[in-house]
């Protein structure tokens, strides 16, 4: 039993170290000046931002609107019974902007783009496209990993902020239509509850989740060796590990705020 726990601990540590190495190398590739492959890398980056960020806007809009509607409906009907009707704004800030906005955005990005990255890189490994790139002197880290990572981090950050705004808008729609809370009162309750820390927290979470998801999905995609049957296996692992790591990061970032 102790041996099993020890082995799992070492495996977990090795895994996190590999992710950290991948991430660090991508950051170095981003900041170290080189003219080599700049244009091609930029093309890959733009494609990644379009796919992960721009193409995800419709589904993010729908989910954010619905979430805003659900939360304000619940808060707007339950809180007045407890004499806390004025806390609707605080509820939106705490649940949507601080917590659910970054988390649900991360889940959307994992489901849409993280799995796509893991699958694409897995297929590239099996068909030896990755080896062919190495043989052409093209850096896998600079050409394959870094633009995907940067694209995903930027997209995640923007989508998280967008999600928060749309969810608040969805909340207002239901507040106005069903709960007859006037616009100025709704906005006032949110602006009173919202602090710079909340905005910073949502941004930090967006950046952290984006980095974690991108590193995990690239790692698992490139871990595929020789068979197409490994691709869905690694993609599933990438998805599950991304969810778990995002929740862990969320705990690490959130809990100290309330201590």
């Amino acid at each position: 039993m102790i041996e099993w726990v020890g082995r799992r601990a070492i495996a977990g540590y090795t895994y996190l170290a590999a992710l950290a190495t991948l991430f660090t190398q991508a950051v170095l590739d981003l900041v170290l000046p080189t003219r080599q492959g700049r244009g091609e890398t930029l093309r890959v980056l733009v494609r990644q931002i379009l796919f992960t960020g721009v193409d995800a806007l419709p589904v993010t809009t729908v989910i954010a609107l619905l979430l805003g509607i659900i939360i304000v409906t619940q808060a707007g009907t339950q809180l007045p019974r407890l004499g806390a009707g004025g806390l609707v704004g605080s509820i939106i800030v705490v649940t949507v902007i601080r917590e659910l906005g970054p988390l649900i955005t991360a889940f959307i990005v994992v489901g849409r783009s993280g799995t796509a990255i893991a699958t694409e890189l897995g297929n590239m490994s099996v068909t030896r496209e990755v080896v062919a790139l190495r043989l052409m002197g093209i850096s896998i880290s600079r050409f394959v990993i870094m633009p995907r990572m940067v694209g995903m981090v930027l997209s995640m950050l923007c989508l998280t902020l967008y999600f928060d705004v749309v969810a608040v808008l969805g909340g207002y729609l239901i507040a106005d239509a069903q709960l007859t809370i006037p616009f100025y009162a709704f906005v006032e309750s949110i602006t009173k509850a919202l602090s710079t820390t909340d905005v910073l927290m949502t941004a930090i979470k967006g950046l952290s989740f984006g980095s974690a998801v991108a590193a995990i999905c690239c790692y698992h995609g490139l871990a595929v060796r020789s068979s197409f049957t490994e691709v869905p296996q690694q993609t599933t692992r990438a998805m599950i590990n991304s969810f778990v790591l995002c929740l862990l990061i969320d705990v690490v970032v959130t809990v100290p705020l309330y201590l």
């Binding site: 080599q36 091609e40 590239m124 080896v131 043989l135 002197g137």
Partner: protein, 243 residues
């Protein structure tokens, strides 16, 4: 003797899927065209992968263009890789790029300062030489095996390499295209110093272009020399690979 372009010295390394061990000593001079021939699982592809620095031998050393693979990190290999064109059995064309962009990629990546028009002209000339220019806008999945292979060879030649490593370059090529490929390599060698190491599993006219044949079986060199010398030296069972 010319300076060596490729040296495989005292190489001993296991061969995947075979009980045998690759055990070779090879010295290939600059500008030489060497054909590695022999049956499947004789170690030809492994020699190409060793030469390309994709596999590290258990014992011995591999020196390509004066650069010893064992001593260098991945990040330091780029200068050598730019002087070596390699096409493996699975050519590895990028599936999300057209044939044209596949061949253009190394130029765009490594020669960012070159005008785009010059790069495109160089790519079209290369595709034309190998007879795949009409397929320039097709994706690899839309091409047949021979077309993919020729496109991969075009990509390997686009940076004007000093060494060309080819694993089964005639696989999937019809008889006419084998001659086109042979003519392309010969023309290139006539104008530029180019060392060619090609692994071939069947006899084809492509072998006629080789200066030297190395016959492998079960991981060992059975015969090494020009075509006529080798034909006389190999056992009857291997003669069909050289004649």
């Amino acid at each position: 003797m010319n300076e060596a372009a490729l040296v495989l010295e005292q190489i001993r390394t296991p061969m995947a899927g075979s009980p045998h061990v690759l055990d070779v000593n090879l010295r290939i001079a600059a500008g030489e065209f060497v054909a590695l021939v022999g049956p499947s699982r004789s170690g030809k592809s492994l020699v190409i992968e060793l030469a390309a620095g994709l596999v590290r031998p258990e014992a011995g050393r591999v020196v390509l263009l004066g650069h010893e693979w064992n001593d260098t990190q991945e990040s330091e290999q780029t200068p050598v890789r730019l002087r070596v064109g390699t096409v493996l059995q699975q050519p590895g064309l990028l599936s999300n790029m057209t044939l044209f962009h596949n061949v253009l990629l190394p130029l765009r990546y490594h020669h960012g300062a070159m005008p785009e028009r010059s790069r495109e002209q160089a790519v079209m000339a290369q595709l034309d030489r190998l007879g795949v220019a009409p397929m320039r806008d097709r994706f690899p999945a839309e091409l047949n095996q021979g077309e993919v292979r020729r496109a991969a060879i075009a990509r390997a030649l686009i940076l004007d390499p000093a060494v060309l490593l080819l694993d089964d370059p005639v696989a999937g090529l019809d008889a006419e295209m084998v001659l086109v490929l042979k003519a392309c390599i010969e023309a290139r060698r006539a104008h530029h110093p180019l060392t060619v190491v090609a692994a071939l599993r069947t006899f084809s006219p492509f072998i006629e272009a080789a200066d030297r044949l190395v016959v492998l079986r079960d991981g060992r060199v059975v015969a090494d020399g020009d075509r006529h010398a080798v034909a006389g030296a190999v056992p009857e069972s291997l003669r069909r690979y050289v004649q």
